[in-house]
């Protein structure tokens, strides 16, 4: 395996998912979004690692877990360039980059406390008006939720 030639800062896992290329500042957010705090199996993570592309990065390795597409969408909001690597028997089975969708349904809370989605029981709905510097326009109150004001439901 050419890829594991260099020294690993975080031990390899036998089966599960590796989430790589997370911005260093977003590692704990990803842990929270994926509810890994309450996860029963082994989770390895590291942050402020050197990265050729991003300067610094974080990585999370989750044993015996494959994620649903919807869960991966959530990650894209804080880690738009994260790679998702499926591991079986220490081998890379598949590798894909998360993609920020054009529309986000549920997941994120509208930051406007006076928005109907924070008053009535209904799912939030946003159009992604900026995928790089995440900006979400609420379908209902039309206000923009940014990375800074973003909270997850």
């Amino acid at each position: 395996m050419g890829q594991i030639r260099k020294e690993l800062k975080v031990s390899a896992i036998e089966n599960g998912t590796v989430i790589d290329h997370i911005p260093a500042s977003a590692v704990f957010q990803v842990i929270r979004i994926l509810k890994l705090e309450a996860f029963g199996n082994m989770v390895l993570f590291a942050t402020n690692l050197e990265s050729k592309i991003f300067g610094t990065k974080g990585i999370i390795k989750v044993s015996n877990k494959n994620f649903e597409a919807e869960e991966l969408n959530k990650i894209s909001l804080v880690a738009p360039h994260a790679s998702i690597i499926d591991i079986r028997d220490f081998e890379v089975i598949s590798k894909k980059i998360v993609e920020t969708p054009d529309q986000i349904i549920g997941i994120v809370k509208c930051f406007n406390p006076n928005c109907v989605t924070n008053v009535e029981q209904l799912a939030t709905k946003f159009s992604v008006v900026d995928k790089e510097d995440i900006r979400l326009k609420c379908h209902y109150c039309e206000k923009i939720t940014t990375r800074k004001t973003m909270e997850f439901r």
Partner: protein, 302 residues
């Protein structure tokens, strides 16, 4: 436009907006008709509003329709904790069209998605108030004979004023030149300016009311509210410099008109009222014709 809810001004195309203005002319000529005699319009005002509610109700009454509803939420099931979803689904059973004002932003969009009858947004918090925009367009068209290629000066609170935002966005369809006059703290937000830039239109920003009025066709005044200022001293400093006096409009074009969404407090001196360039009370009357046209089109009667 039949059965098409109106939540944001952009829900209707330029052509649809112009069609409403065209039909409004008909109602201006003949405001009393019986076309709504078999219809019930629900007027749900979850927060008080004088002009908008009365002008909608006047529009329905003059067309022979019936109005049901409430003018504030205090004595309704909403106070008992009923959800908006349940209120809308229930009242839709009793009416052919719902006109709603609600302080919760996005509530009109939500209502339009669950309601089996069309919804007209009569204001959802600081978000949208599209019928005000339509009556502003009607007033501009009527006084200028056209909506195209005009110089429109907007004065006052350009940051929080939803009527200003919707009007700017709507006027971007008509090659308008914008003159934006406001204190620095209350400048037009970039999210609205974006629409002007997308159409490559010219806009100029000023912090003082000045000689720009001599080129303007329309002056749209708004009120500056004390609570918008983080520094009360700043408000004291500027409050008197955004008041329109009669001498300031002396050298304007003959066709120049002063508009204001009302209510006015003191931002237009009452001496201006006697000028033939003051148009704000006629503007409020135009609201009846525009709302008659809108309801007639949504109910498929025009």
């Amino acid at each position: 436009m039949k059965n098409k809810s109106l939540v944001s001004i952009n829900d209707y195309s330029k052509e649809e907006q112009l069609r409403i203005l065209e039909v409004a002319q008909e109602f201006e000529k003949k405001p009393v008709q019986t076309i709504l005699q078999d219809y019930v319009v629900a007027s749900l005002f979850f927060e008080p509003s004088t002009r908008t509610r009365l002008s909608f109700e006047s529009a329905v009454n003059r067309l022979g329709g019936k109005v049901i509803g409430f003018s504030e939420a205090t004595n309704t099931s909403v106070k008992k904790g009923e959800s908006l979803r349940d209120t809308i689904l229930t009242i839709a059973n009793y009416s052919d069209l719902i006109v709603m004002r609600n302080p919760v932003e996005g509530s009109a969009r939500f209502a339009s998605e669950i309601s089996p009858v069309p919804i007209i947004n009569a204001g959802d918090g600081a978000n949208q108030h599209p019928t005000q925009t339509l009556l502003d367009l009607y007033s501009i068209q009527k006084t200028q004979g056209t909506l195209d290629n005009l110089h429109v000066a907007l004065v006052g609170d350009l940051k929080y004023g939803r009527t200003v935002h919707s009007l700017v966005i709507a006027m971007c369809n008509f090659n308008t030149t914008f003159h934006l006059i406001s204190p620095l703290e209350l400048k037009l937000p970039s999210s609205v300016k974006m629409h002007i830039k997308e159409k490559n239109l010219s806009y100029f920003q000023y912090t003082e009311m000045n000689e720009v009025f001599s080129h303007a066709d329309i002056l749209y005044m708004t009120r500056i509210q004390r609570e918008r200022f983080s520094d009360p001293l700043e408000f004291e400093r500027i409050k008197n410099s955004y008041i329109l006096h009669k001498d300031m409009i002396a050298n304007t074009k003959d066709s120049f008109k002063v508009l204001h969404p009302l209510p006015r407090v003191n931002e237009i001196d009452i001496q201006v009222d006697s000028s033939e360039k003051a148009y704000y009370f006629e503007q409020a009357l135009n609201g009846v014709y525009v709302r008659q046209a809108l309801m007639a089109l949504i109910l498929g009667l025009r």
